[in-house]
Every structure is written in C-alpha cells, then in structure tokens.
Symmetry: C2
Subunit: 488 residues, 2 copies
C-alpha cells in the first residue's frame, strides 16, 4: 500500500516507529506492535483513531525514523507487512525453558542493539532468563554477544587489570585508591565505572568531585597511555550497550537475573579489554549478598565463566556488615580517598584497598604484591599517580581534602545511650544520604564518626549529616540518623 509521509516532530528513541490511521491499519492488516517494511527497513507500527492527528492515507513518521529512512514531508512511500524477526521466536524458546546456543544468543542481542525488538519482546527475554535461569554457557554466549555488538577499547597489552565490586555497600570507594596503586606499579588499569543507581554515590559521582569523568574513547586511550590508568564514567562509551537496555528493563521490577548479572559485569570488563579482574563480593545482612555460601557460589561462577571467556578472575569475599570508609556521599567519599592516599584516612578503606590492589599485583605476576602495594601507598607514589590521572582527566591536581567543599547545612546525631556499636545500617545510611540530596548535590551525605566495635558514651557524636539546602537537611533529619547505629 502507498502512503503519504507526515513527519511527527518527536523521537521515539527505541525501535523505528510509524503511525497509521486505524482504517488504513485494518486495510494493511496490521495492529499496534506489528511490523511493516519501508525501503527494506523494518519498522514498528502504531495505530491511532484520531483523524486530527493523522488522516487516512498518511503515515506518521517519527523523527528518528524519518532520519534513518531519509523521508521528507509528503513523500509517497510503499509500505508492506513484515514478518517478526527470528530473534522473537528465539526469545519464546528461552521463555519456554529451552537453552540457547551461541548463534541464537547473538541473534537476539544483535537485534536488541539494532533496535529491532520492542520493549515487550525484550521484557519477555529478561523474564525468560529470570524464570528459567541460564546455564554458564548461555551466560558466556550472552557476554560474547554483548561485547561483539558494541564498541570496545583495545590496549594491545597482555595484562590489563580491572576491579569490580558487587554493589550495595555505602562508600566502599576503593577504586580510585586501587587504580592509583596499580597504575603506579606500572600496570594498565583503565577503569570505567557507573554513576549511582540506587546508592548515595557511584564511583563516577565521587571521582567527578576531583575531575571530569565523561570522555570519548580516544581521550580515554590517551589518558591511559599517559598515566597507565583512568577513572571514567562508562555511560557515554557505548561499551556493552545491549547491557544498558537489559538493565533498564530489569529495573522495572527490580530483577537481577544471575545469568544476566554475570554476563553484564564481564561484558563491561571484556569490552574495556581487561584480562585480569578482581571481584569484590561484600557479604552482610544489608549487602546485596547475604551469606558466605552465596558469595562463594557467585565467585565460583565468575571464575568458571571467566575461563570460558579467556579472563582470569579472582573473587574476594569481604565484610559487608557496615559501610567501608567514613564519608558517604560524593564529596565526603572523595575526601576519604585523598586522605588514604596521603597516608591517613579511614583504616578500613585503606586496608581493603591495599588488599585488593595487592591481589591485582599478584595476579599480574608481582610475587610480593601485597608488600609492593603498601610500599607504593606509603611512599606517596600512589598519591602522585592519582594527581597525574586527575590532571589527565582535566581536574585540579593540587586538590586537598580541605579544598573539597561539603554541604553547609549540617545535623549532628548523638548517641542516645552508652554502649558498643554492634551494627550500622547500610540501608538507612543510604536513605538518609539520598534524602540529604546525594548524589546530585555533591556535598550532601553522611559522615560516620563511629564504626562497628567502638564504644560510645551517651551524648557522644555518632554521625553528621551534610546537605546543600535547609529543606533537604530537614528531609534527611526526619529519617532518624541516630537509628543508623545499634548500640548495645
């Protein structure tokens, strides 16, 4: 059937969509979400019964579709029904509990990245992976498919180190310290990180206090060439882009299917050209992983999946019972990081960073990896490297903890009874930090003056809330900062 083009001045951002008047749709025998072929390209049909919006005989073409197909207002085009892509039947196969092979998995991910699948079809894929589980082979195929269908970095080096932490623990900002130590030791560590998804700050939010984190692939390659390392936001890099689409759908229901989780993490590492990866798995009642058994099992799967992908992986099970470090919020965490690099700072953050950096050095073949990591930190070489990287990313290398400004509205929470701190609630700290305005307000957050195991007297300071506005401080205060600490 022939139609006259009417451009609709809006982008749909997903699959290419065209709009039909209901009477035309009936004649063409298409319904909403059916596919039609225009100039050899498959588009998704939408249908309206509103003739003021679209008269019969016209086809509404959204901006991204008109750009893709080079269509202009009043062009006359031929439109025909199109079959659904084969990947849709493969999604059904997965939903029916069957196992997908490498070619099939790649077909789904290729169509996903090409925007050939509807939101509903992608959702069925996620639902299939969630309800039917995935074999380790399937996770490997998914990882390869994600990496194969997106951009990637290429450092042409036999050893590229990387680190990942299973989220859920406030602060735990080991990354900038590890990168500084490892890069100072002469190894490549091109670290891409995320922004906060549900936390008070992501690594990128924190690093951004010190230097810009959004860079092109070319710029990143040059930063790493100059300094051995980087600490950038992965969001604009188009690395593992299929993964971003899957995560968007998973968020809808707060799902985190293990098979996709494994693939998602290793795809990002693989696309960053990493070869040796340490994976930090914090375990705690209020961490993402709540038992050592589960952590061991997950670590094991990472190792086995890594083998299938040619990646060397070392899982490290860590203490997730309370935040690591004292500051929670972008600026407060950046202060903690600088203090550790300057030889001071929260002991737990320092120790954990040293252990993970040492592990990476050992993986890279440095026999006395732990001693070497300590040496690099204590000699000031790590701080020097940090400043180099900050400079290379466009920040001020002369930054000091004092120069980092924090919210001027503060509230000090004091102990309501005397005793020993037996627990600090990760969940409540997170809620308070977010209510105070983090991560968007960089200076907002919570500073813990006490950690688990310390003895406090009634009336002594427990923590300080920082906010950049009075209103947000009130919001944060109302959540009971005193309740963060369980004192016995």
């Amino acid at each position: 059937m022939k139609f006259k083009v009417k451009i609709i001045e809006i982008s749909t951002g997903g699959p290419f969509v065209v709009l039909f008047n209901e009477s035309d749709a009936q004649r063409l025998d298409v319904r909403a979400l059916d596919r039609v072929r225009i100039k050899k390209k498959v588009c998704l049909a939408d249908v309206t019964d509103d003739e003021t919006l679209l008269k019969p005989g016209y086809i509404g073409v959204f901006l991204d579709t008109s750009a893709e197909l080079a269509l202009k207002e009043h062009n006359v085009i031929e439109v025909a029904r199109a079959e659904v892509p084969n990947s849709v039947w493969l999604i059904k196969k997965k939903l029916d509990g069957k196992v997908l092979n490498e070619k099939e998995m790649n077909e789904i991910i290729k169509d996903l990245v090409d925007n050939s699948l509807t939101e509903s079809e992608v959702t069925f894929f996620v639902a299939g992976c969630y309800t039917k589980g995935m074999s380790l082979d399937e996770s490997a195929y998914l990882t390869k498919a994600i990496v194969g269908n997106s951009g990637r970095l290429n450092f042409k080096s036999k050893i590229v180190l990387d680190k990942h932490s299973i989220g859920g623990l406030p602060n735990n900002r080991t990354t900038p310290i590890i990168v500084s130590i490892v890069a100072a030791a002469g190894f490549l560590i091109p670290k891409t990180s995320t922004r906060s998804i549900s936390s008070v700050a992501g690594t990128s939010d924190t690093v951004e206090v010190l230097a810009p984190v959004s860079h092109s692939k070319e710029k990143i390659m040059s930063i790493v060439k100059k300094t051995n390392g980087c600490m950038v936001w992965g969001g604009t890099l188009d690395l593992a882009s299929a993964d971003d689409i899957l995560i968007k759908i998973e968020r809808t229901l707060g799902l985190d299917p293990e098979g996709i989780l494994l693939a998602s993490i290793l795809a990002k590492k693989s696309a960053a050209d990493s070869t040796h990866i340490v994976i930090d798995i914090p375990v705690g009642d209020e961490a993402k992983i709540q038992s050592r058994e589960r952590a061991k099992d997950l670590g094991n799967k990472f190792v086995r999946l890594g083998k299938k992908l040619g990646l060397i992986i070392k899982p490290v099970i860590s203490d997730g019972s309370q935040p690591v470090g004292n500051g929670i919020g972008p600026a407060l965490e950046a202060r903690d990081v600088l203090e550790v690099l300057m030889g001071d700072g929260p002991p737990d953050l320092r120790e954990k960073s040293l252990f993970l950096a040492g592990t990476l050095l050992k993986m890279a073949g440095v026999k006395d990896g732990f001693e070497r990591a300590k040496e690099i930190l204590e000699s000031g070489l790590a701080l020097k490297k940090m400043k180099e990287i900050i400079k290379a990313q466009g920040g001020d290398p002369n930054v000091t903890p004092e120069k980092i400004s924090v919210g001027k509205y503060t509230y000090i929470a004091k102990a309501r009874s005397s005793g020993k701190v037996v627990q600090i609630s990760n969940h409540l700290v997170t809620r308070i930090g977010k209510a105070a305005g983090a991560p968007n307000d960089k200076g907002a957050g919570v500073y813990l003056h006490r950690k688990v195991g310390e003895v406090v007297k009634k009336g002594e300071v427990l923590c300080t809330i920082y906010a950049e506005s009075k209103e947000k401080l009130e919001n944060a205060k109302s959540l009971c900062a005193e309740c963060v600490f369980r004192i016995k």
Copy 2:
C-alpha cells in the same frame, strides 16, 4: 522541582507520559520508565538528550497527559518522583511463582485498565502467568477483575445464552445460525464476536457482509430487546477491556497462557451478562487443540471455572480435521450461512449448528432441545429471525445468497490424481484465503467443492479461489490450492 509545560502534539495511547531533558532528569533523579507525580496524578517519565526538542527547565507533556491534567503551554508545575504502584510488586510476586489472591489480582487489573502500568510491567505479568501457570482460583480472580474493571451489558434475565468456539478452524460459521434458532425459540442470545485475528474471517467479518456490526451498548440493548439476539462486534464495546491489553502483549510472542485464555473467554461472556454457555472445542491436527485428552481437560477447566463464577458451561468436543462449511472468506461464509437457514447449504455446517443450538436449548430447560432446534430451522422461523436481526442491525433483510457478491477474479483448482480425499489442510486454506485478500476484501476466499471422504477423479474441480484483484489472485494461486487436498 518546578517545570514549564511544553505541549507535545501527539497522543501516547498508554500510560500518561511526560518528557524531561536529560540534565533535569538527573537532577530529579528519574530515568526513563520511572514515575513522577504531577497534580496528584502519577505519570511515566521519558528522557531526551535532544535540546532542540526539549530545553532544560521544560517538561514535555503529551496530548493525552495534558488533557488528563488540564495543562496548557507555559503552565508552571511542580513535579516530584513517585513510587511505583504496589501492583508492580504483585507482578513480581507472580513472576516468582507465588499465587495471587483476589484482591491482588484486582489491584493489577485495575492499574492495567487505568493505564498505570508500563508495557514492560504488563509483559512481566503475562510472562509470569505463562511460565508459572495459574491456579483455577487465580483464573477466577482474573476473570472477576477483568469484568469488574470494564463496561458490561445487563439484560436482567435469568437465562442469557451464549456460545464460544475455540478458534483455528476455517469457516465453522455456526454463530449466526445458532443465534437465529435460539432467538427464534424465545431465548436471549446477545452474541458479541471478534474480527479475524489470524484467520480468513472472524464471525464479525462475515456478519458484516449482511449488516453493520459496530454498535453502541444502548443500540445493542435495543436490538436484543426487539429480536432476542444480536451478532455484533465486541471491539468497540469496552467489555473486558483489560483483556484486550493482555491479548496485545500475548500476540507479541504468540503466547496463549491457559489461565489467561480461560479468564479472557469467560470475562467476555460474563461482561455480556451470559449465564449458560456452550463451548465448541474443535480437535484436529491442524486445529488449535490437537488431542481429545487436551480438549477434555480444557472443557473440564471451563466447567470448573464457570462454577466458581456462577456460569453454567457445557463443552462440546467437535471434529476439527477440516473446515466446517464450504466457503472460506466473509462473503462466501455469509452465503453458506444463508443457505443453511434457507434449508439447504453445507450439511456439516447445518448439523453442527443444529447440535450446538439444541445443546443451548436443552441447557435453557427445553427438554427436546435438539428436535426443537431442527423444527425451528426447517420451518423457516430461524431464517425469519435472522432477517429480523439483520434489519435491526441496519442491514438489508431481503438479502439472498445470490445477492452477495464475491471476487470476480477466480482460479479453479483441479485434482491431479484420482482417489479419495483423506485430508484438507486448514493451515493452507487459511494462507490462501488471506493471500487472496480476505478478510479485508470481503469477496475474497476459497470455496471447497469437495470435503474429506469424497471420491474424486483426476481433473475434477476441488476448489475455487476468489479474489477482488488480479494481483491478489496471483499471490493466492502461487500457494498451490491443489495441495490443500490430500488424495489417496
């Protein structure tokens, strides 16, 4: 946060959507598919990085959203993040394999009808019902929820008869004959039907050859009051509207979760105020149901689910091994129907219609239901009733089979060998009928001159293809009409 309204001249047709510039979205801490609250109404956020489309500080408001919220260009409005509705967590519960209770099922369907759920969330619900199955109680709750959250008819009668056929069999156009007989016998039978979904013709496509089928609820009530029956299209009636949304999502992957299928059919019947329903379940290799065991099991579930809903249901397992009737296509089927009512026509269509009509009469308490049905048909009372209904719906009561025009482009398929017809392919007849232009071209279709069991000689006529254009006839011819018949 405050925003200035920019109206976007397009309707989204689903949940109420508003658009943010990426920088604003970050400050508001919302991502695409998150929810925001505006004037106490929850809307779905979408995000663009295109500043020519939407500048920071502005909120893009789509037409249906601006109408709902009474927003005008340049209005300044307060926007806050909103939590996801509780129904989303209930959907997760179902996806996790847990059983939903009546209140929970209603909450999901209410939000679905209110457009409070995203396409992705509805998809997860369908995926949950599909992969985890549904208990009969859940199907009952779903049926009640669908009926409770949509429009319905109300005839204030103790007995309202109805009939449903599990689809997949070409022609099988018993409905107009049954309605005529049952209405002539003095019982109410307000039949709503569908148009073709994947077949050559749906009941509504066929009836439309004889009379208009799109009527308002009020008009339907008056037609039924006048004639005891009707044969209308259910599509515009807003009966069981939640069901339409679920079906749209199911179609994406060609799913038909049994629990939803049962609820979907009985919700439509219940919304039409039916009390006694006969359900025709054709069994055949190329029918929807392929074994008698499966048909018995399905019939059983209908009866048990009906009991929970206060509906009396009688399943009838029928022969689905070949099309019922001779014509396949709207006009050809309408001819078959009229011929049967006039005392002639295809014997299989006549017998099946009589059996189903007789069954309904018996269910309504008529002891000699089968004899009575036959009597009504043979006396011409059914034909008289049919004409009454055609007239009441706005058609020409003086219609005859000859007056119904069929496609002028024809192709006659002849036997390539002599022998007995042992099979007629439902699938191939369907593909040929659709290629010939049905159901949109009313006169297109296939007429079977021979049925299973008949003996043919090489060169004798098997079937005729009718099309309204030469091109479509060629399309249909290319599918090999001779191959429809297996001759041994």
